[in-house]
Amino acid sequence: MEPQGLQMNQTKPGPSLFKRNPPIAGEAEAIERAQNGDAEAFSRLYALHKRRVYTLCLRMLGNVSEAEDMTQEAFLHLFRKIGSFRGESAFSTWLHRLTVNLVLMHLRKKGLNLVSLEETINPSEDDAPRRDFGSRDPQLTGSVDRVALERAVASLPPGYRMVFILHDVEGFEHNEIATMLECSTGNSKSQLHKARLKLRELLRHPEQSVQPAGLKESAQ
């Protein structure tokens, strides 16, 4: 049975997605061979994409065990569906969309209602970004590295984190995110803006950030 909300159609991505997901050497051949049932080629695809798929799962779920389970699910689903990949979008874009939809379905099963971000996973007053009036903190430009950003993103409330990862990291458009999260485009824009405001606060005050799951054991 096709999982609810899992979209395997290959809509044309925006140019940013191709820019973010350039073709990988040897990938096209491995895809073709894997589509013909070549187990070694599928293993090659796993090796090429496992880290990005796992990192995506980990960022969305914030939990190593669940992220590994969803990585497993995503590649098993890929194995079953790879014949339907027609190369109309970057393979990694297609795989990431598949992964995101599986993770969202998993979260819905767990009871996290994504239908209305505002009502269900909107953060409390304490977590919401403050308006920027009268602040004299230094500007951020040039001061943020990957580790600091990773920590700050991990500290975001789930709804903010989801939209930030999907839009600013993965490069999905607001209309795509709205479809995935079953919310309005306006809601997606609003959540993204609040996410960036909250990140600004967290990056200015790093002591408020948490240690991201899995970072300690595998950060590079």
Partner: protein, 91 residues
């Protein structure tokens, strides 16, 4: 009475300016407005100007997270292989 084209737009508050930011960023204008009232506010308000600069910087820095930083355990591949074998045996 004729309108004066060089007249400055009516000033807006920081709240009014910041309410427009989600749409300005979503429009791909990096938070930079075309509306004269918003332009004027951005030119004259240090706080909102710093806010727009920081939010754009954060959006730009997000690409740092594109590089995968985590590796799944070997156990994941073993389970995938087991799942594939189970699929094949069912056929």
């Amino acid at each position: 009475m004729t309108s004066n084209k060089s007249e400055s737009p009516a000033p807006i508050s920081c709240t009014e300016f910041q309410e427009q930011l989600p749409d300005l960023f979503a429009a791909g204008s990096h938070g930079l407005p075309e509306d004269p009232a918003l332009v004027e506010h951005l030119k004259t308000c240090e706080q909102c100007s710093a806010l727009v600069r920081d939010l754009q910087y954060i959006a730009d820095q997000a690409s740092l997270l594109l590089q995968p930083t985590h590796e799944p355990s070997d156990n994941v591949w073993k389970k995938i292989q087991a799942g594939i074998d189970a699929d094949r045996n069912q056929k």
